[in-house]
Symmetry: C2
Subunit: 267 residues, 2 copies
């Protein structure tokens, strides 16, 4: 099948570019349109009602770009708005939770589960409820880490402050088998986190798990792009006068990223 | 004069409550209506265009509450939107910059000036331009500190991470006479900052300077409230399901604060 329509990706900012990176790695021929709602970033401290409203606007924008499937690449929006979006829209919409939950479910050595995410995601109990429903025997330990996302945007992911902050946030995570990185910025702290928890703990990058599932979905629904060309990507941001561009170029290691960024108006 | 109409205060979140505290200290009989746009917090990384649009909506809301004067208690909104608002509206509107600039201008020992604020405020050069215009002989050193506001919201204002973060941000501020706290969250770090810079550097709380000017303006315009009653205050937030309420109660040391918080819709 050669379906050249793009995959749409929605995020509250540029954190989801860690997911875009994984999706491209697993699906190199697919075109991608990424929408980051940088004007209203961060979603972490917003109400469920606000998050649903904003996510809906984002999806409507992507649909106008003729996308064939949508990734909600934001932990907060996935936990608060995904189910509602799947009810309202006919195309495949996947968030960053289900693939990870299914992965853990299958791997029976992972039953002491840690979750770190933004305040909104943790407060919504999205991860906790989903994990409990799928893996009733699991023990789940949650921790909101509201400083990690802004710290990643500052570029502090391996310095002493990052280490102490990770240490402070993870001090109760003594006996876990795995740690879910429930916010897309957190893979940037992987080194610090692995050092703090030791090699026996599996650190789970949700974007990587999602990217593998996206590949399967495209194939099952026969909407994959099996052309001979490398896929391309475009980034739309609702507010482009921000330091997100420098963060984005660090995340994607693409020096020409500025030419791929356009302004989106969701009003 | 007994003008019981309230003073309106606008902020992007709850940081401006440090300003509310100072305004009440200097103007104890005045009633205050505070509007925090928590749904869109933080403004620090938004464009000028977005900030003007959001500030206008906030002022329109306060005008419907019959306010007699308005304080823009947000560093970012002051630097990006104050002039435009003063052009568009007939009532007194003051931001958190002018009072501080005038104070420094008069005190001739303060000519090596440090400014710390959010990324948006520093990028706008609001402080730099205003200080240069009023005090051409001053040397100004700027630093954006995007992590301090979220760190204050986490309650980390005196721990080791706060100290290291302050140290990292202030390492270039070796020879200043005074430091302007250009974001309303920053007075919470006063102890850390004073320790880092030493007693010879004057730390300037912009809310305190503004509160004294507000007193003068109310008197000059003959709109002060000289009744015999203690003034009251109400807080409106655009998103109330957040951890801002716990931050607000810490800031104001008012245990009954929840009863004073209402939801505002600016759409």
């Amino acid at each position: 099948m050669i379906d050249t329509r793009p995959i749409g990706m929605f995020d509250s900012g540029v954190g989801g570019l860690t997911v875009l990176k994984e999706v491209r790695k697993q699906n190199p021929k697919e075109n991608i349109i990424y929408l980051g709602d940088t004007k209203r970033f961060p979603y972490g401290s917003k109400s469920k009602e606000s998050i649903i409203e904003l996510t809906k606007k984002g999806i409507d924008f992507l649909l106008e770009k003729n996308v064939k499937a949508i990734v909600i690449a934001c932990g907060t929006a996935t936990s608060q708005a995904l189910e509602e979006m799947q009810k309202q829209y006919p195309l495949p919409i996947i968030g960053i939770m289900d693939s990870t939950v299914q992965y853990i479910k299958k791997k029976k050595t992972l039953r002491q589960i840690g979750v770190i995410a933004t305040t909104g995601t943790i407060r919504s109990k999205g991860w906790e409820n989903k994990l409990h429903r799928q893996i009733p025997e699991a023990n789940i330990l949650n921790k909101a880490c509201p400083l990690l996302a802004p710290m990643a945007e500052e570029g502090w992911t391996e310095n002493k402050i990052a280490k102490l902050t990770v240490q402070e946030y993870l001090k109760e995570f003594q006996n876990i088998d795995c740690l879910i990185l429930g916010c897309t910025h957190y893979p940037l702290f992987k080194k610090c986190i692995q050092e703090e928890l030791g090699e026996k703990v599996e650190i789970i990058n949700t974007g990587e798990k999602l990217a593998k599932d996206m590949k399967k979905i495209l194939k099952t629904q026969q909407i994959q792009n099996e052309s001979n060309h490398q896929g391309n990507y475009e980034i739309y941001l609702t507010d482009t006068e921000t330091n997100f561009i420098s963060v984005a170029s660090k995340l994607l290691k693409d020096k020409e990223i500025e030419q791929k960024i356009k302004k989106a108006d969701l009003e």
